[in-house]
């Protein structure tokens, strides 16, 4: 549906603030750990699209989620990922872009067997 505006050229004059060009070479990536809602929402990062997926797992996830008692118990081989709703098995050696991660992609991961603090999804 079209915008209701006084100016018929409204749509041509707007500034889309979150265009990828505005992020200095980075893309915005969202991460979410399922069944661990003590982290209140998915979190956002600006990452270079050439960053290897493995770096995200090795450096970013521990700094973000390490405070949770379940984190140390994660079996990384069993982790299941989705990128923008698609089930995927990311290759840690390849880049985010090569693993199908684009600007404002949502990465959700599930850690089988771990269901949050005392199994309450917290």
């Amino acid at each position: 549906m079209a915008v209701v505006a006084l100016d018929e050229h409204y749509a041509d004059k707007i500034e889309i603030r979150d265009r990828v060009e505005n992020f200095h070479g980075n893309i915005v990536v969202y991460l979410h750990w399922e069944e661990h809602l003590s982290f209140c929402s998915a979190v956002a990062f600006p990452f270079p699209p050439a960053m290897p997926f493995g770096a995200l797992v090795k450096d970013i996830l521990p700094a973000t989620y390490g405070a949770h008692p379940d984190f140390a118990a994660i079996d990384w081989d069993a982790v299941r990922w989705t990128v923008d709703g698609r089930e995927t098995a990311p290759d840690p050696a390849r880049s985010l872009a090569e693993n199908g991660v684009g600007h404002k992609s949502l990465l959700r991961f599930r850690t089988p067997g771990l269901h949050g603090y005392r199994g309450t999804r917290s």
Partner: protein, 505 residues
């Protein structure tokens, strides 16, 4: 002058408005009221507008001046008697901080919005009413600032309220709400603020804050609440009269008005999540739970209202049922956001005490013990171990309401609700179907959202580090933010209480 004073109210009102809707001779009407038509609202006859107030300017000034005199007399005595020491508890002050940074600037925005509507609506009756409301809203902003400035002498977090409103991440929620309304056409603004906010949802904003103030010894705030009350009933009347008038004037108006009611109900519901958390978590002495307030002021009062409006073909707002189901979860989820981002909040946070958790269990038997008590107990354990829980990364925000995407799937409180849309090759994320629908209705508008987290990444918020961003917010780290325990506010309060005990003992 004397002759005018002798006239009855009705005649004086006629003199006030007559001649304001003259027929222009050398300009087309559309040049004088350029905003009147693009929204598609059709008005056959403005003279059918029955003004519900007939309030003339002289009586308006007289009433308002009288209320101001009473208010400022109370404020003076509150200050002279050190009213701040009579509060229930130092924690209460954080509710006042949230009000001053989140609501007061919105009053000012309402003032600007009604000034615009008061210029651009072609009908003279609603135009005058909107101008008066514009003055009311300006007065509300001023009296709130004056009232709460007393606390600024003692407590942190009040000093930069309007600067913070424009910049701080969670204050973009009320700010973007009003920015959205004020950049709409005048009829949408009238429905958004005059009807959806002032009529349908206003009791869920003002009753909690004003009763909360009364229960917690904040006499100053109670008094400005009273001082605004008669204005608010006038605003409610205007809101309901406007929606009825639009629906009576032309059948083509119904789908347009319905879309606005759906949209602004949902947007208002999202903003009121801040009030939900204030009621359930921030008030040391609780009035009632958010769930109870929602049942009384929305489910019952709103139910009667929409039953009445059904004769115009209007149905209750879309997703009202979702909002009602969310009342079980809203306050808990919001307070969890602020607890883990306390480092970036301009008020203090804490975990509910065991007694408060029992109150929450009693008020929320279907949700609290199962989902939220364990979360708070986990964090309490971590605090005891000296590992207070913080979220070290920035949250994903909803493109429309701009709140962290913390809300759960309808019917499943263990899974975050994710929605998205594609527009011109870009992906946009939403917290709910309500927010997604709003985006899909006008993607050109919301693809311009100024999302605080993305703006930090773009380098527009003072720098990339937390310190730089807080400095850009003018938030004093170690004073304005972090937990209540250990804050300068709490230390000062404890000292006041020790002094009082010594005097008493």
């Amino acid at each position: 002058m004397n002759a005018i004073n002798k006239l009855g109210l009705k005649q004086r009102y006629a003199l006030l408005t007559n001649g304001l809707d003259w027929e222009p001779s050398y300009q087309p009407k559309s040049a004088i009221f350029p905003y009147a038509e693009f929204e598609g609202i059709k008005i056959r006859d403005w003279s059918k507008w029955e003004d519900p107030f007939r309030l003339t300017m002289d009586s308006y000034w007289k009433y308002q001046a009288e209320k101001e005199r009473k208010l400022y007399a109370v404020l003076d005595s509150f200050a002279q008697n050190n009213g701040q020491t009579g509060l229930s508890n130092a924690r209460y002050v954080n509710a006042a901080k949230l009000f001053l940074t989140g609501i007061t600037p919105a009053e000012y925005q309402a003032h600007r919005g009604f000034a615009h509507v008061g210029r651009h609506i072609p009908g003279v009756g609603p135009r005058i009413a909107a101008q008066m409301q514009s003055l009311d809203e300006l007065r509300h902003a001023q009296t709130q600032i004056h009232t709460l400035s007393h606390y600024n002498r003692f407590f942190d977090g009040f000093h930069e309220f309007s600067h913070m409103h424009d910049r701080v991440w969670y204050l973009s929620v009320p700010k973007s709400f009003f920015d959205d309304a004020r950049t709409a056409g005048p009829f949408e603004y009238f429905i958004a603020i005059g009807f959806a906010f002032e009529y349908v949802l206003t009791n869920l904003l003002f009753v909690p804050f004003m009763s909360g103030a009364a229960y917690n010894g904040d006499l100053a705030t109670v008094t400005f609440g009273f001082s605004a009350q008669s204005d608010e009933s006038r605003h409610m009347t205007l809101g309901i009269e406007v929606i009825k008038f639009l629906l009576e004037q032309h059948p083509d108006n119904l789908p347009i008005v319905q879309k606005w009611v759906d949209k602004w109900f949902w947007r208002g519901h999202r903003v009121l999540g801040l009030v939900a958390m204030m009621m359930d978590y921030m008030l040391p002495k609780k009035i009632m739970s958010w769930r109870e307030a929602w049942d009384i002021y929305f489910t019952q009062a709103g139910g009667a209202l929409f039953a009445d409006l059904a004769r115009y073909g209007l149905r209750p707002p879309k997703y009202a049922d979702v909002a009602t189901a969310e009342a079980e979860h809203l306050s808990h989820q919001n307070w969890s956001v602020f607890y883990q981002y306390t480092q970036a909040a301009a008020f203090h946070t804490w975990l509910p005490t065991p007694g408060e958790m029992d109150w929450l269990s009693e008020k929320y038997p279907n949700s609290f013990d199962q989902h939220y008590r364990p979360r708070f107990e986990m964090w309490a354990e971590m605090e005891r171990d000296g590992k207070r829980f913080y979220n070290n990364a920035l949250p994903q925000l909803c493109t429309v309401c701009q709140i962290p995407m913390a809300y759960t799937e309808p019917g499943d409180p263990t899974t975050i609700c994710f929605r998205h849309s594609e527009h011109k090759g870009d992906r946009y994320h939403f917290c709910s179907d309500g927010c997604k629908d709003i985006f899909d209705g006008e993607p050109e508008k919301y693809s311009q959202s100024w999302l605080p987290v993305h703006q930090i990444f773009q380098g527009n918020c003072g720098g990339a580090s937390m310190e730089e961003v807080l400095a850009w917010y003018r938030l004093n780290p170690g004073a304005d933010n972090m937990d209540q325990a250990g804050s300068p506010d709490q230390a000062m309060w404890d000292q006041w209480m020790r002094m009082r005990d010594r005097v008493a003992g």
